[in-house]
Structure formats: C-alpha cells, structure tokens
C-alpha cells in the first residue's frame, strides 16, 4: 500500500497533468460554443504553439516573452486560415457537423506533415518559465511551472467566462452556435463570429502548448494525445463550459494518477476511462450539467 506522502504527491502530479488536459479542453469549448463544431484539430494548435515557441527560442534565440508574443498570434493565424479554407466552405454548404469534424481531422494530418517537413520529426522542449524549483512543502514537491499553469488556467477561465456571459461578442458567439439563422437575423455577423472563435481557440491552444512544453517534450504528433485528453476533459465538464473543462481535466488527471498508484500505469487509461463511463452513466449529460436541476 502506498504511504500517505506518496499518495499526496501523486495527487499533486495528477492535478498538474489534469490542468494540462483542462487547458486543452478549454480550447474545444470556445469553438463549440460558437458553432457547435467539435474541432478535433484542437490538439494540433497545442503542438504548434509549443513547436513555434521552441523554434523561436532555439533558432532565433529570442527571449521567452517575445517568442510567446509571436507564437500565439501565429497559431491564431493558422486557426483563422483553417476556418476560412476548410470550415467555412463546409459550413456555408450546410455540411453535417461530423463531416466538418472529419475535415478538421484531415487538417490536423496536413499540419502535422507540414511540421515534419518544415521543422523536423524530433521531440523538443525548452526551459521552465521560472528556473529552479520545485517548491517543497514537507515531502511534497510542486514544480514552479505548475503555478504558471494554474495561474494562466484560472485567468483563461475567468476571462472566457466574462467574455461569454458579459460581453456582447461573447453572447453573440453563443447565439451563433444555437441558431445561426436567428443570429444573423438579429444583425450578428455570423461569419465573423466563427472566424473569431477559431482564432481565439487556436490562441488558447497555443498558450496551453507553450505552458506545458517546459514540463515535457512535444513533437509533430503530440497533438493527438493532447486532443483526446482535452476532449475527454471538455466532455466531463459538460462541453462548452470552460471552468467545467478545467475541472474535468483535473478529475481525469487525478483519476489516472490514482489508477497508476493502485493498479500500475499499464491500466491507468482503462481504469480512468471506466471510471469516467460510470460517471457518465450516473450523469448522462456531463458531470457538471448533472448537478443542475434536471429538465426534460
């Protein structure tokens, strides 16, 4: 049986991983909230954010803040392009959502291949934002980067919440996802809103990528695992709800950590996913939606 210190340490690590999942999950929510589209290329934005930042640091020797300020808009631009070239033509033709999702997957493959051709096929990383660490509380270690992730995660959730509920554009974005025609009939520029959501979501993905790369290594194909975990996090959180996604990510991370401690890493996904399935069976419309009063 694991001792208490080890267990707590595992939980801390689980929260750390979970925050990463959650950050990715938030990106899903933005596009979903604006369009009802699940953008499966979300993971690729994370990869691109990390890779772009790494290239700027390694090849051009830029300081981190500058690299950050270049990488994020760059990825946002990729998001914009994706909307204009792939999603919009389908959207305008009234393609089924699943077909659009497939197209985003195809885009992901394309971006991955282009990344291999322009950067390389190797894993990369860069230094933590704040060197040194970890912070030791008794026997428990907390890496400094985790604080950056927690801080930025909370900031992102907060800003997004304000954006979606308090601002005109945010509300309009949500309206577009629920009824596009009606939104246009009220004067909401639906096309521009969709564009905004892709740029925003790509930027959020890039921020997540830049935040997590110092904790590990990313390569051209790191997008998929990020995307999958982020998607699961967003689902647990009730899809569309940024705070829910972050919480969902943490839950997933902790579940995995506990599973590793109790069963070993081999079955950690099996255990975590099985637990999740049971959660879904109990709360058929997401954990956090399930807490609200049920209406038929």
């Amino acid at each position: 049986m694991p001792d208490a210190v080890q267990f707590i340490q595992s939980l801390v690590n689980g929260v750390g991983v979970g925050l990463i999942y959650g950050l990715v999950g938030i990106g899903f929510c933005v596009i979903y909230n604006a369009s009802g589209i699940v953008n499966f290329a979300q993971g690729v934005f994370v990869m691109l954010g990390g890779m772009a930042c790494e290239v700027l640091l390694r090849k051009f020797h830029l300081p981190l803040p500058i690299a950050f300020l270049i990488a994020v808009p760059f990825v946002a631009l990729v998001g914009l392009l994706m909307e204009v070239l792939v999603v919009r033509p389908m959207w305008n033709r009234g393609s089924p959502l699943f077909a659009i999702i497939l197209a985003t997957l195809a885009t992901q493959i394309m971006i991955e291949r282009i990344t291999i051709l322009t950067v390389d096929e190797q894993p990369h990383t860069f230094q933590e934002f704040t060197l040194g660490g970890p912070l030791k509380i008794g026997a428990i270690a907390i890496p400094y980067q985790l604080f950056w992730i927690v801080g930025c995660g909370a900031l992102m959730v907060g800003l997004l919440w304000l954006f979606f509920t308090r601002t005109r554009a945010g509300r309009a974005l949500r309206a577009c996802s629920q009824n596009r025609e009606a939104a246009a009939l009220l004067g909401i520029p639906v096309g521009a809103m969709l564009l905004l959501s892709f740029a925003l979501s790509a930027a959020l993905g890039a921020v997540a990528g830049i935040l997590v790369t110092p904790m590990q290594a990313i390569a051209f194909n790191s997008g998929t695992p990020f995307g999958v975990s982020g998607f699961i996090a967003a689902i647990i959180g009730g899809f569309g709800n940024a705070a829910g996604a972050l919480a969902g990510g943490i839950l997933l991370g902790v579940l995995q950590a506990v599973a590793i401690v109790l069963l070993g890493a081999g079955f950690k996904n099996v255990a975590a996913l099985t637990a999740l399935l049971f959660v879904l069976f109990l709360f058929p419309s997401g954990l956090f939606a399930g807490l609200k009063p049920k209406a038929h």
Partner: protein
C-alpha cells in the same frame, strides 16, 4: 401605394432544387405602412420572407429606403433595420429569456439603454418578466412566441416582418399582439405581416397581397377584401 417606399422586392424568386417555391414576385411596403400577405399552406409566404432576408438563395433585387441592398448579407440587412420574426420562432433554446432579449438589441447604438428597451418589452409581455431567467426552450409554446416578438422589438426595427406570429397564441394574446403591432405601426413602424388568421390581420392592414402557388395573385386595399367575392376562393386555393 402611398408614401415613399420602405422596402421593395423586385422580381424576387427562389427555388429549392427543382421546386420553384417562389416565382418572380414584386412587393412594396411604404414608410409607416402595414401590409399583410395572405395565402394557403405552401404558397411560398415563408420563402418570400426568407428570400427577402437572404436566408434562401434568390434572384431578383431588394431595395430598402431607396438603396439597393441585394448584395447585403443577412446580418447587414438586419443592421439596416429589417427584422424578421421567423416561422418556428428561431429562439436560442439554451439561453435564458433575458439573454435572448439582450441579443435582440445586438445592433443597438452605444449610449442607448438596453434596459429601457427591456422594460418596454416587459410592459408588452409581462409573462416574459416572470420567466426572466428560464431557458427559452422550457417556455410554453405561446411564451416562446412572445419571446420571439419581444426579441425582435428589442432591435427597434424600421421594418418588422412577421411570419405567422399568432401561431400557438391564445386568442386573447394573439389579439393583443396584433393590437400592439397596430400601435407600433401608428408610431411609424413599417410592418409586413404574413398571417393565416386573416380576419384579425386584415383589421390593421392598409394593403393586402395574396400569394398562391408561389406567385402573387392579388394586391388590393384591405378595405376591398370583404367585398371581393373571388378572394376567399383565391387564397383558399
């Protein structure tokens, strides 16, 4: 027709695949005028309104206050002040009544008060105030219709187009809404009303178009309808 034209549909036509739902149709609403469109099911009334808002691809031209807006997008037309209340209401189901209403005022100029307009709508439909925080999809059918009309009024339109607003409303509420439309019209709002319940609508309208099988078959002053012995046969097809 009297006064300067507010909206002019010129040879507007639309098709769904091989189905010509709207043959080339011309129709005008003057500033401050109340026009009603009658016609049996499937006549193309909804299609005409959708084409006028460019929700359906259409040929022909649309002019609004003298300006050609044929190339203007749907939201552009809404910004110009044309608001359509759709058949089937087009609410944002997962959003609250309040949010639906606030979104109605999306085109509001900075400095104007959304709350003032909200109050105006609540005076008209007190029920909406009671259901303020409820999601739109959980409203009763009639309440949803009130919300749809209320939301349209939030935009302070110059031209209000309504596609069967009385659908699902209790007689008294339907009458009240039509009265309200009458009041708004007297205050200068141009109204284009598509309605099946002809008697009430005719009381308010100045002119009437009758649509059948995708084309306008009659255009006449509202006062003539009663005496027009062919009309019932026309619009009942």
């Amino acid at each position: 027709m009297t006064g300067t034209p507010l909206i002019e549909l010129v040879d507007l036509a639309a098709a769904y695949g091989q189905v010509q739902a709207l043959k080339p149709t011309s129709l005008t609403v003057a500033e401050g005028e109340f026009v009603t469109v009658l016609g049996p099911n499937g006549a193309g009334k909804s299609t005409m309104l959708r084409a006028a808002m460019r929700l359906t691809p259409a040929s022909g031209r649309v002019r609004f206050r003298g300006r050609d807006i044929t190339r203007l997008s749907t939201h552009g037309r809404a910004r110009e002040g044309i608001i359509l209340v759709q058949e089937g209401r087009g609410l944002f189901g997962q959003m609250s009544v309040r949010e639906n209403l606030i979104l109605g005022a999306y085109t509001i100029a900075p400095g104007e008060s959304v709350d003032e307009r909200l109050e105006g709508v609540f005076r008209l439909f007190p029920r909406l105030k009671e259901r303020f925080g409820q999601t739109a999809s959980s409203l009763s059918g009639g309440e949803q219709q009130m919300l749809a009309i209320g939301r349209a009024l939030m935009a302070k339109p110059k031209l209000l187009m309504l596609d069967e607003p009385s659908l699902g409303l209790a007689p008294r509420v339907a009458a009240e809404i039509l009265d309200t439309l009458g009041t708004l019209n007297r205050d200068g709002l141009g109204i284009l009303l598509v309605e099946q319940k002809a008697p009430q609508a005719l009381r308010l309208a100045k002119r009437v178009y009758v649509l059948s099988l995708g084309g306008i078959v009659a255009e006449l002053a509202a006062s003539e309808v009663g005496s027009h012995h062919d009309l019932s046969r026309f619009y009942l097809h």
